[in-house]
Symmetry: C2
Subunit: 253 residues, 2 copies
């Protein structure tokens, strides 16, 4: 976290390098071995937690901004990232606006302004991530979905909207490529889906459906060493997976 003086400098400079009024908030869902967490940050000075976010450089595509922010907070890039909603209520950042409003004269005061925030959600394997605090926080860590803290501003709404969207999109979009090891078993993949949906699924039906999508390769080998019958290994068929990302998995009308 920046010192008070550094912060003031940052805010004074921010208006020159970032687009005013526009922020990006990311809901980073982290998975590993049946667990599902969300990446959150906190300052020692405050009680409530917030989602990783940031601003858009003057000449930067918004998609890149989201990528950059996530790279800074997680250390990884090329992750599954999806724009899902824009939060544009004028009062959504009121509390922060008030907090910072006396820090600098209004015209130089980047953060005393209203922000419209573009929401992205991302899916990562939290084993690969090094959570890194930003300029306004000392703590950046994974929070379990069953043990969520109090959220700052409208970040609870952003989080919930992201989760709803993710669960909905599970029906149309393939997921898992970034979340599973290169080779994995069907029960492991099922566990991922169950974790996201917070719901038990039928083994046999899950397998049939997954295989029906045509995005998996069944490997010859099995995973030995477990305490029970050795399950077959699968890998993603990258070509079909990419195609399914574009085309979607199902149809309507």
């Amino acid at each position: 976290m920046l010192t008070k003086q550094e912060l003031e400098e940052f805010w004074a400079e921010a208006g020159k390098i970032y687009l005013n009024h526009i922020s990006i908030d990311c809901v980073v869902f982290g998975f590993h071995e049946g667990q599902m967490k969300v990446l959150m940050l906190k300052s020692n000075n405050e009680e409530a937690w917030y989602l990783p976010g940031g601003f858009v450089l003057k000449q930067e595509p918004i998609e890149n901004a989201a990528d950059r922010i996530l790279k800074e907070r997680t250390g990884i890039d090329e992750i599954f990232l999806q724009q899902f909603y824009v939060f544009g209520d004028p009062d959504r950042s009121k509390i922060h606006n008030e907090m910072y409003k006396d820090m600098l004269p209004e015209d130089q005061n980047f953060f005393a302004k209203r922000f419209i925030s573009i929401g992205y959600y991302a899916l990562v394997d939290f084993f690969n991530v090094t959570p890194t605090p930003d300029n306004f926080s000392e703590i950046c860590t994974w929070r379990d979905l069953n043990d969520l803290p109090r959220f700052q501003l409208d970040h609870e709404l952003i989080f919930k909207t992201a989760l709803d969207t993710l669960r909905l999109q599970l029906n149309y979009q393939p997921i898992g490529y970034n979340l599973m090891p290169k080779e994995f078993t069907m029960p492991e993949l099922q566990k991922l889906y169950e974790t996201i949906l917070d719901k038990k699924l039928d083994r046999r039906n899950f397998q049939r459906r997954m295989l029906g999508f045509g995005i998996l390769n069944k490997l010859e080998t099995t995973r030995k060493g477990g305490a029970h019958k050795a399950p077959y290994l699968y890998s993603f068929d990258l070509e079909n997976y990419q195609a399914a990302l574009k085309e979607g998995l199902k149809s309507g009308w």
Copy 2:
């Protein structure tokens, strides 16, 4: 359309009353008796057409901004309006930025800046609409989807994204309340769906499915006067319709 001087004044003032860098573009789909059109504008000075759009007042919720813009262009409000995507490429408004860049000094020049545009789509009955040009156009009119003009900037992408989204959402969201008369026949409603999807649907299956949603009331009366068998009239069951808007029409997993 404003005169050149009025335009300069407008741009000089715009930065004071609107949020910088943020615009709203609306894809207004107009329906009437089996036709589907999209509302577009054009200046006499330019060849290409553009979508109704505008800016967000400093203290205005973005949803309200979209409503306000549509009210100005169409004369109606309380219409079906749906945020669908954000277009944030830094070059998307390049051509306009260049055009206006010498008009005023850069810091006062609202329109020489990059714009991130929030896309909304709306569904209206074009019979109820009075198309009204904005400050930058002389022409505001309905264009048939089969006879689209050349688009300005990235407005063709915005239009196509909206159409794809609409067609997709037809599977989950009830539509028609703003588009049909109070009482309507099943074939009329079917025509609306066929128009949007650009696809023939089966009469019997359409009827069964629609009734299955439980958002229609079958009335006792029939529509006399047609040249053929008198069809039954239906009206929307507002309560169930609103519920379906929130809940969606189908489930997944």
